[in-house]
Point group: C2
């Protein structure tokens, strides 16, 4: 890869994943601020202070969108909200299927908020005959045997996997075989997929480990140094 040359397609930009994860936080905050109607503009310093993020970090992050601010004034709140919404693709809804109507699956079906994020769960699948045929939070539950056909027929690209460890890999294979291109995996195992399939792994065990290790460390080091701004990378 040549260092100097301009990229062929300017649409393709490398965006750091941490940046992508912070953008929704800014968005949330901006909407709150907008409703308070105190000002039409906001600076990176204000956003950063509210979210315990360095202002320079906020500015860098906003830089990946095409947001333009005014020196001294900051960014137009309304404009920034619109730009982030657009950048994150929250304007064009994507359909998804959910596989596994257990506790967590049921909870996700009830997440009205997903629609704001451009995600629309249009059907759910399970193997349990008692669940099949029912409607949960407005979403109909089908037998898992119908997955393949329905994915193909509807051209669904996103699958949400909310099942236990044991069947996770098999169901992943079924989804991929049917034509699913991106899997949001809430099962406790890391599933294997072909190289062109995208998997986003949500692991509660990992998060809990980080939390409890931080807590343990805070206790053993308390009153030694002890400052925790919530941004620590190491524990």
């Amino acid at each position: 890869m040549p260092k100097v040359e301009a990229p062929k397609d300017p649409v393709i930009k490398a965006i750091p994943e941490p940046t992508l994860r912070r953008l929704p936080l800014y968005y949330q905050y901006l909407k709150k601020i907008r409703d308070e109607k105190k000002s039409d503009f906001i600076s990176c310093t204000q956003i950063g202070n509210a979210l315990s993020i360095l202002p320079i970090q906020v500015r860098k992050d906003l830089g990946v969108t095409d947001a333009v601010g005014k020196p001294k004034l900051g960014y137009s709140i309304d404009e920034l909200i619109a730009i982030i919404e657009d950048f994150l693709g929250w304007n064009n809804t994507k359909d998804a299927y959910l596989v596994g109507v257990g506790h967590l699956g049921t909870a996700l079906l009830g997440f009205e908020r997903f629609k704001e994020y451009g995600l629309n769960i249009i059907a759910a699948f399970d193997i349990d005959r008692e669940k099949v045929g029912s409607t949960i939070h407005g979403v109909k539950v089908f037998h898992i045997g119908k997955l393949d056909n329905m994915v193909k027929r509807m051209g669904i690209k996103i699958g949400i996997l909310t099942v236990p460890s044991a069947p996770a890999q098999d169901l992943t294979n079924e989804m991929v075989h049917a034509g699913i291109e991106a899997i949001w995996n809430f099962s406790p195992v890391k599933v294997a997929v072909p190289p062109d399939i995208i998997v986003q792994h949500e692991n509660l065990a990992s998060s809990l480990v980080v939390l409890s290790k931080k807590l343990t460390l805070a206790r053993t080091t308390q009153s030694q140094d002890g400052v925790n701004n919530g941004n620590d990378k190491k524990i």
Copy 2:
């Protein structure tokens, strides 16, 4: 033995957060492998291949625990499981309270698996009179007004926050005031806490953004370069 100077307290080591997040994955895999009883030993190469992680990364990660492997052979599977379990503190259970018995809160109360990870949710709180007094997945639901007293009386240090945006900050304040030291935050907003309080922020919107941006990019770049091993940092 260190060349220059020994650290004052060898217990306090800086462990990268990514490493902490990967350790549970290794653990999951090791347990699966152990049940297959094919061998008593396993190498970093095997673990890495199974999880799409570079072997050298696995070795580095295992290095932070006190696991010792044998050249040519690898690590004892049983020993490694025990060491990770111990390192992550999954042997001594920590009690926690859950605040907000909505869809997600209910789902978390039903997560038997948490006990394996050393987390024991011993009570839940809500403001809804219909929920108060009921028992969900074996956990009793109290009125939020009792939180302060019960946290103090039981010496609870971990709070799980599963409420909507609006009341998240107020409830966080209440928890902190009562004596909670670590908050596992599933609300959609980043809550502000004093510097000595730990917050682990679980944000579905952020994860979804990463997933959908990867999907969008994969489509625009398909058949150009197109190799996705699931380990990409940038999208």
